[in-house]
């Protein structure tokens, strides 16, 4: 009798517990909020990020992530960025996608912060990331893009640049991406016969950039290795300030595409920003879904745009993304 009673009570308790667990699970599921992921970008509203933003948003929709795009100033330091990251963590971010600020100390800071929260870098690795295994980055192959820009120049000159004077608008401000692009470009140019007569690293604002370009010695070829630099150089060219130099570069905004369309830029190497943004969110979402998984580096493709093939079928997706 007593054993029967005990078994009955245990069974009832087990069933009641199962009911409570299922009810709780149902309620939790109903009220479960999506993970909040914050993206820290420099000047996020700029048109160069249109495709990236589109990719981020599409992936956030696909992966049920609450995406917040936060901005930093034009020249954020590692310290500023740390504050920004902390603020996002305080605001409830479960993971971060961060464009690393230029300069030293960023890598160490990000590695330290990534112990608190999953962090994935975007567009570039940290400046001093060679000695760091983490954080990972979602980016295009910057070195290859630098090479591709130089190769496009060579194509227009039958593979030789003998006697040609080349100006390079790096605009890297010390970012790892800028350094890689420049290195890739120089590696192709070094045996081309051309001479790099100047390199412009820092361009704080568009106006500043245009003024700096105008001040430089006349070059036959100018290669701009990031979108703001190409945009500034394109504008200079539109205004006839490049003194006949042919302009090539890496860009991903409607402005740079417009300059290509207007034949002010000879060729654009356009990173697939949509894919970078999409992969960044997916990677972050994966690490949030799986506690033991850290975000891993992802590399997106790039396209070479020329005026005659700008509106070709294969480039429509790229144009669609950057015109969002």
């Amino acid at each position: 009798m007593k054993e029967n009673r005990k078994a009955f009570i245990i069974l009832e308790i087990v069933l009641a517990a199962a009911v409570l667990i299922l009810t709780a699970a149902m309620l939790v599921r109903d009220y479960q909020k999506p993970h909040r992921v914050s993206v820290i970008l420099r000047n996020p509203e700029e048109s160069q990020w249109a495709a990236l933003r589109f990719g981020l948003k599409q992936a956030a929709k696909d992966r049920n992530v609450a995406l917040v795009i936060a901005g930093t100033g034009d020249l954020a330091s590692a310290e500023d960025e740390k504050e920004q990251i902390q603020e996002e963590i305080d605001n409830g971010a479960k993971a971060l996608i961060v464009e690393p600020s230029p300069g030293s100390g960023t890598g160490a800071m990000l590695e330290e912060m990534s112990k608190k929260i999953p962090i994935l870098l975007i567009e570039s690795k940290a400046g001093d990331s060679e000695n760091l295994s983490y954080p990972a980055a979602a980016e295009a192959d910057n070195y290859a893009m630098g090479q591709a820009a130089a190769k496009e120049v060579l194509k227009d000159f039958s593979g030789r640049l003998d006697g040609k004077r080349i100006g390079i608008l790096s605009g890297s401000q010390g970012t790892e991406a800028g350094v890689s692009r420049k290195q890739g470009c120089l590696d192709i140019l070094k045996d081309s016969g051309g001479t790099v007569i100047w390199t412009l690293e820092s361009m704080e604002t568009a106006q500043n950039a245009e003024a700096l370009i105008q001040e430089k010695e006349k070059a036959d070829i100018i290669i701009a290795l990031n979108d703001p630099a190409l945009e500034a150089a394109g504008k200079c060219n539109q205004e006839g300030d490049l003194k006949g130099a042919l302009l090539y570069g890496i860009g991903n905004s409607t402005e740079t595409v417009y300059y290509l369309d207007q034949d002010l830029v000879r060729a654009i190497i356009a990173p697939d920003e949509f894919m970078i943004g999409y992969q960044a969110v997916c990677e972050t979402a994966e690490s949030l879904d799986n506690f033991f998984r850290k975000p891993e580096s992802r590399t997106a493709d790039y396209r070479v745009l020329r005026r005659d093939t700008l509106f070709a079928e294969e480039n429509q997706q790229l144009l669609f993304a950057i015109s969002q």
């Binding site: 009955f8 009911v19 696909d62 905004s253 429509q316 669609f320």
Partner: protein, 620 residues
């Protein structure tokens, strides 16, 4: 058989009963009722739950399909309305403006402007091109690009190819005008061949209305806000995507769509498996364009909607099982309670207690309890009667054994007294009569069976005195008992037969005088009385046969053999007690009486008389 024996039997039966009960307890009535009730109820609940779930699933699937079709029909109507309005714009420009004006007429530009202004929310631009691709007029007024290569653009080619039709292109970046704001428009081009008049000469031209893609995409985005995995896309008749919620993912190769196959379907609902996933496809054709609006309902969409219902049904089932278990237990307790109480009272009875048999519960259980109670009462009565009968029979047997003494001995003694009187040995005769009187007094002992050892030994002395007179002192007798033993209980007349045997078998035929010694002692809580003679003795076989009750009469003695004494002791005190015989041929024989040492009190005597064996603890 006494009460104790009966209890032992009941206890044995109780053991068997418990073994049976153990078997029963593993499948007790309460458990059986509860398990049966629960299994049946839960099975019914499960069947009901599964049936309900199945029915819900079917209804949900049907409902999802129907709502998808309704939504798609409505969206198709909206799309058609939009496309019709675009056609009307095109027709209005053609029939009201282009065909009525010369291309150099200022009116042409003004009328086009008015139409554009009225519809600029849904169109990006309107433009009229000459047969060679030269721009005649455009609204909003914009500078044409240096070399847009108009004649090679799809919309121009199609319009020129099939002049009688209106052509809707797939979405593309407009590549016609120079927009100083660096904006690029994603448009759907509606083109048609038109007849234009230049300086009175009719010519072929192409009228282009570039529709704002966002109007259509917003229309479809509104219906693509499901979270259950269901989505809608638009493709042309060749399967080329016009709108898809994952358009960029498709173009980037991150996602793929089976649009080419869907474009081949007629309107309706179809099942298909794409990339290993089963899904339902709902297809609607948009008029005027041949575009297909496709609704995709993956299986996941059905399960998504059913997820809460699944949870709900499982929770409901668990709650029902809990309630049914409770009801089952209550019902089983209600039914089995009286039976279990009855069972408990029967078990207690079997364990030797004397509880009142439970009579209660339902009418049937009451009847059962009443019958068992009655049966036990009858059994008790019968057992009591049997015990009484056994006691009476045993007493009768004892009495019969004792009564065997009298005739033989009396005859011989009286015969001796007669001889003494005849020989004028009056003193001897008086002595003999006194001894006989004393002997008879103790023999009778007021009808008691149990007397003190002292009386028994006195009886033995009287007897020996008579026998010594009869046998003219041919033997001597010595009483060497411990005086302490005299106040213990014994069955009467058990020493005298031993003495008689000692006289007849021990000393008869001997050349010298026989010696008989009577001893008595207490050893280890038991009483021992021995009779020893120095007679001819016996062989071991003879000793062994002496205590066998084989019904053979002994050739000498009073007729009360050792067997009788042995049986009497065992009947009264138990099988542990009786006689022990030791004998050696030509050496003599010792017969020892082994009795429990029960102090001679009135209480002990009465209990022994009633045939109750005295446990060791009760001896006082």
């Amino acid at each position: 058989m006494n009460t104790k024996t009966f209890r032992i039997k009941r206890a044995v039966r109780g053991k068997n009963g418990r073994a049976e009960n153990r078997k029963l307890s593993s499948r007790g009535i309460q458990t059986t009722i509860m398990v049966t009730f629960t299994v049946v109820s839960v099975s019914i609940m499960l069947i009901l739950g599964l049936t309900l779930y199945g029915r819900f699933s079917v209804l949900y699937s049907q409902s999802t399909e129907e709502s998808t079709q309704r939504l798609m029909n409505q969206t198709c109507l909206n799309l058609e309305d939009h496309l019709v309005s675009m056609r009307r714009i095109s027709e209005a420009i053609y029939y009201n403006v282009v065909s009525e004006s010369d291309i150099h007429d200022q009116n042409l530009q003004r009328e086009m402007y008015l139409i554009y202004e009225a519809n600029k929310d849904s169109i990006v631009s309107v433009a009229l091109y000459g047969n060679s691709g030269s721009l005649i007029s455009a609204e909003p007024v914009a500078e044409q690009k240096e070399d847009p290569n108009v004649t090679k653009q799809d919309w121009f080619v199609q319009a020129v190819d099939k002049v009688e039709n209106l052509h809707f292109s797939t979405p593309h970046i407009q590549n016609l005008f120079d927009d100083a704001t660096s904006r690029y428009y994603w448009v759907i081009s509606l083109s048609r061949a038109v007849e234009i008049t230049e300086n009175g000469t009719p010519q072929m031209g192409v009228l282009l209305v570039d529709m704002n893609y966002s109007t259509i995409s917003q229309m479809l985005e509104k219906i693509n806000e499901n979270e259950n995995g269901q989505y809608y896309y638009l493709c042309d008749s060749s399967g080329k995507i016009i709108y898809h919620p994952k358009q960029s993912q498709i173009l980037s190769g991150l996602f793929s769509e089976n649009s080419k196959k869907a474009a081949g379907y007629k309107d309706g609902v179809f099942d298909e498996t794409f990339e290993g996933e089963h899904r339902k496809i709902v297809v609607n054709t948009v008029s005027y364009t041949g575009w297909r609006l496709v609704g995709v309902i993956p299986d996941q969409a059905f399960t998504y909607g059913m997820f809460d219902i699944r949870y709900f049904i499982v929770i409901l089932l668990l709650l029902m099982v809990m309630i049914l278990l409770f009801i089952g237990r209550m019902v089983s307790i209600r039914i089995s309670g009286p039976i279990m109480k009855l069972n408990d009272s029967v078990r207690a009875y079997e364990a030797g207690e004397k509880p009142r048999i439970y009579i209660g519960g339902s009418q049937e259980t009451q009847h059962l309890g009443y019958s068992i109670q009655k049966s036990y009462e009858q059994i008790e009565t019968l057992m009591h009667e049997i015990v009484e009968e056994q006691n009476t029979r045993r007493k009768s047997e004892l009495d019969a054994l004792q009564s065997q003494i009298n005739p033989h001995f009396l005859y011989n003694t009286l015969d001796s007294i007669t001889w003494m009187v005849e020989d004028k040995r009056n003193d001897d005769a008086v002595f003999m009569i006194m001894q006989l009187a004393n002997l008879l007094r103790i023999s009778l002992s007021k009808g008691r069976t149990i007397i003190s050892v002292g009386d028994e030994l006195q009886h033995a002395r009287n007897y020996m005195n008579i026998q010594k007179t009869r046998y003219k002192d041919r033997f001597s007798v010595t009483f060497e008992e411990d005086p302490a033993i005299r106040q213990y209980c014994t069955v009467k007349l058990i020493v005298q037969p031993l003495l008689e045997n000692a006289i007849y078998y021990g000393t008869e035929g001997m050349d010298e005088d026989g010696e008989i010694r009577v001893g008595g002692r207490i050893c280890d809580g038991d009483l021992f009385i021995s009779v020893t003679d120095n007679g001819v003795g016996m062989t071991e076989e003879e000793v062994n046969s002496l205590l066998l009750d084989n019904g053979h009469a002994h050739k000498h003695g009073s007729g009360v053999g050792l067997v009788n004494v042995h049986n009497r002791i065992r009947l009264l005190f138990g099988r542990k007690y009786g006689l022990m015989i030791e004998s050696e041929p030509d050496e003599g024989t010792t017969v020892t009486i082994h009795l429990p040492a029960v102090p001679y009190t009135e209480e002990n005597r009465e209990r022994l008389e009633k045939g109750n064996l005295l446990p060791a603890g009760d001896i006082h």
